[in-house]
């Protein structure tokens, strides 16, 4: 057999029968539509969940980065926070280059005085571990107390752990104080007397915070006014420092402002009524 076109057509047409039930097709199509809709809803909810989680992650990272940035951008309004940072973590380790922006009332709005005045005194003096336990000759102990040249310094005096007085030094006075601190003995000498220091019962702590020209706050330098005195920034260490006269004045002011040290009030003079001994 060699089929011609007619035979082929008739062979193909043979067996044509019933048609297709449209209801079956429509039901199947609706099922497919529902399945597609469900799949779209599922994907959309998954995408929304991913977007929410991603958004929370981004917000969290932004908040974290913003929080750490805020810690490095202290100022007059953030004095309390800065003080707390000094208290807990050993002082100079934290916020070593805080910007000294802003100024409290009564001081110029700008300039070295304002920069230093804006630096808050820590609520309590930073507790810096003395390098090598306070002994001389430790590695790094001969380094500089102030990492950069200072334009002004904030000096805070504490009796025990209470802030009693503070002052701002600028110009030559500030650099003179820094020089006297840096030039102090690098090895301890216990035989030296300490006439410039307050009496042993009043001895306290000085915290000296340098502020550079670009308003960066250096690590605090803590001077413990024992005899012999010790000055450290946590790394470098000096001994037998004698405070200059203006600082001695500050110390005295701080001591006098402390209510516990107020002068003893004697009873007013009056008429002697007789011998205290009864006859």
């Amino acid at each position: 057999m060699s089929p011609n076109e007619f035979q082929l057509r008739s062979a193909l047409r043979d067996g044509e029968g019933a048609g297709v039930n449209p209801d079956t097709v429509i039901a199947r199509a609706r099922g497919m539509e529902q399945a597609r809709h469900d799949r779209r809803v599922r994907y959309a909810s998954m995408a929304a969940a991913v977007a929410v989680v991603g958004g929370i992650g981004v917000l969290g990272s932004v908040a974290l980065s913003g929080g750490s940035g805020g810690q490095h951008s202290g100022g007059a309004n953030k004095g309390a926070a800065a003080s707390n940072a000094y208290d807990g973590a050993g002082g100079g380790q934290v916020a070593s280059r805080n910007s000294a922006a802003g100024a409290p009332p009564g001081v110029p709005a700008s300039g070295p005085v304002a920069n230093a005045a804006a630096v808050p005194c820590p609520a309590t003096p930073p507790r810096l571990a003395l390098p090598g336990g306070g002994g001389s000759g430790q590695f790094g102990a001969r380094g500089s107390l102030f990492a950069e040249p200072v334009e002004s310094v904030k000096v805070c005096f504490y009796v025990a752990t209470t802030s009693s007085a503070s002052t701002v030094l600028i110009g030559d006075t500030a650099s003179g104080l820094v020089k006297s601190l840096e030039d102090s003995a690098k090895t301890i000498n216990t035989s030296i007397k300490c006439p410039g220091l307050p009496a042993p019962t009043e001895r306290g702590t000085l915290v000296i915070i340098g502020v550079t020209k670009d308003r960066a706050q250096l690590e605090p330098v803590v001077a413990t006014l024992n005899c012999p005195s010790r000055v450290t920034n946590g790394t470098a260490l000096r001994f037998n420092w004698t405070p200059p006269s203006n600082i001695v004045q500050l110390i005295n002011d701080g001591i006098n402002s402390n209510p516990a040290n107020s002068p003893i009030s004697l009873p007013p003079p009056g008429k002697v009524t007789g011998s205290p001994v009864q006859s």
Binding site: S2, E5, L12, G17, G19
Partner: protein
């Protein structure tokens, strides 16, 4: 809103032709029904957006058939035990010439079979066949000629005669 009445009328008018074409394409009654249902489902889902539903249905039919013959990783897997085959013996293994021709049609490759069905069962022109299959007209002509030649040779061989 989809025009369901129009779709029902379309299926009632053309369903039998499409079902038979699907059977010819697959060579199997049940697979043909599955194929035509799939094609008509596609037509229903796009009913409001297509201008020529019959042409779209034919195209969906041949495309679905050719796609189903491609090997897919999620498709058929080789197995040692063959399942029952209701296919060829179901309607095509007959003794007369017509049944013999349709059995030989099942031995063509899917594209050749689609060309023959569209040209000689659906009475499509070469251009319409080319459009439905997405191939050039020249390819349709050559494929058709090759398919017919194979049918003649196979038919002659099976009947013991000369082509």
């Amino acid at each position: 809103m989809r025009d369901e009445a129009g779709f029902r009328m379309f299926v009632e008018t053309n369903g039998a032709t499409l079902l038979h074409a699907a059977r010819l394409l697959t060579g199997d009654h049940h697979r043909g029904e599955d194929l035509v249902q799939g094609a008509l489902t596609k037509v229903y889902l796009k009913w409001d957006r297509i201008d020529a539903p019959l042409a779209y249905a034919r195209k969906a039919l041949v495309t679905g058939h050719i796609d189903s013959t491609r090997r897919k990783w999620w498709g058929e897997r080789p197995t040692e035990i063959l399942p029952d085959e209701p296919g060829r013996a179901d309607g095509l293994a007959a003794s007369d010439e017509r049944d013999e021709l349709r059995r030989l049609l099942g031995e063509l490759n899917p594209k050749e079979r689609a060309v023959v069905v569209l040209r000689y069962y659906c009475d499509q022109s070469e251009q319409e066949t080319a459009a439905a299959l997405g191939m050039p007209v020249g390819t349709v002509k050559s494929t058709c000629a090759r398919a017919l030649a194979r049918l003649r040779v196979e038919a002659a061989a099976s009947m013991g005669g000369q082509p």
